[in-house]
Amino acid sequence: MSDDAWQVTWFTVGVAALSTLLILPFGVALGWLLARRDWRGKSIVETLVALPLVIPPVATGLILLKLLGRRGPIGGWLENTFGWEIVFTWRGVVVATAVMSFPLLARTARVAFEGVSPRLEQVARTLGAGPWRVFAQVTLPLARRGLIAGVLLSFARALGEFGATIMVAGFIPGQTATLALSIYHSVQLGRDGEAMVLLAISVTIAFAAVWASEWFLRRKAP
């Protein structure tokens, strides 16, 4: 395997891991709010969160491009405040993959929390545990299988992200080139051999992630 292929692989895995890590607290929090609380605007938020799953990834990418570009409301602020450039940098790849995989994490987390009996949480309260202790010692451990599966699934989704990433980060070898973008680029240039190597790597990593996710979901409850 060439050095380029290694570089692209590590970059892709790193970006996918970082984006999954970034969305983890928000995905878990939103999943819990959707499963356990009734609030105004809940159905709107639910729909908004599901949108990246159904609208074309390129369209999501375009929205992000407009928001995160130098003249966009968020991009302009980030650049002026922190000096962070998002568009056409590795940060753009992280943001695009994070947005695209967030729905999977939030929805899996919601299902995981819904699987925990509220009775157990109530009894824990009567035993002297405040809401945070109940969450940490009862809810979270009982939902952990579903949460881990959700994390692995959104990691796998981030690995394969193409449409939004190409819009926000473009294809810059050594800077924003992920496995998916590199496969497309190689095929465009007629380098089918390179493309097949990258394809094999993609399939192997994705298979491992999805298989592990399924394994966690199927493990017998205690």
Binding site: Q122, T126, L127, A129, Q137, P141
Partner: protein, 237 residues
């Protein structure tokens, strides 16, 4: 320990739970058919639900007072709650469940030590057992032990024997009686079984469609003519 329920009101599906009572028995039965509001009443006392109106007072402590905007959260009520299914934490061992409510900063009252509670409930040997491997009767005893070890001022038991078969019920009744006699923790005992109430309770509140229909000592409430009525109602659900 006196439990005062004044002007307590909670709208439920088909009726409104309305309770006005002062309970002073060692073990007070909340008796009634399924869907008469028994569990909801326990939840109001435990702080798992908020009433639309009224007041709950335990001894000198006001736990809920809607008019005054007072509501003590369940974790600070010292009111133990054992739901019908036991609701043990499946990811913890028996020991992990039992010590969940132990306050490490405050020693338990001398009667409610770990050793004594597990001995009375005959669960000491189950210490390292996983919850999934317990029988129905063992689950109920562990759930009861867990609630007791949190040193409650009041214990709420929601049909603890309802899911068990007759021989097991007969074996557990004396254990419950021993809990009543050894630990001196006042209990509200939700049931729709006359024999359990007769064996364990010194006061009965009969609930029907959210209202107190009758109140008194078990022997007075369940006089033969009455008992037939209640038994029939119980069978009819």
């Amino acid at each position: 320990m006196k439990i005062e329920l004044s002007g307590l009101r909670l709208p439920l599906g088909h009726f409104t739970l309305q309770v006005e009572a002062t309970l002073t028995g060692r073990v007070t039965a909340i008796f009634g058919a399924s869907g008469s509001g028994k569990t909801s009443l326990l939840e109001l006392i435990a702080g798992l639900r908020q009433p639309a109106a009224g007041r709950v007072r335990l001894g000198d402590t006001v736990l809920t007072d809607v008019a005054a905007g007072k509501f003590v959260p369940p974790e600070r009520r010292a009111v133990g709650y054992v739901p019908q299914e036991g609701a043990l934490f499946p990811h913890l061992s028996v020991h992990g469940n039992l010590v969940f409510g132990l306050d490490r900063n405050r020693p338990p009252p001398p009667t409610l030590t770990y050793a004594h509670v597990t001995e009375v409930l005959e669960i000491a040997h189950l210490r390292d057992r996983r919850i999934g491997l317990l029988s129905g009767g063992e689950k109920q005893r562990v759930a009861l032990g867990r609630a007791l070890l949190a040193s409650p001022q009041l214990l709420l038991l929601d049909e603890p024997l309802a899911g068990l078969d007759a021989p097991l019920r007969d074996r557990l009744l004396p254990v419950l009686a021993r809990v009543r006699d050894e630990f001196a923790v006042p209990m509200l005992y939700v049931s729709h079984a006359v024999d359990e109430v007769m064996a364990l309770c010194d006061d009965v509140v009969v609930l029907s469609a959210g209202q107190i229909e009758e109140r008194g000592a078990p022997a007075d409430v369940f006089v033969p003519s009455n008992e037939r009525r209640y038994v029939r109602r119980r069978v009819g659900g």
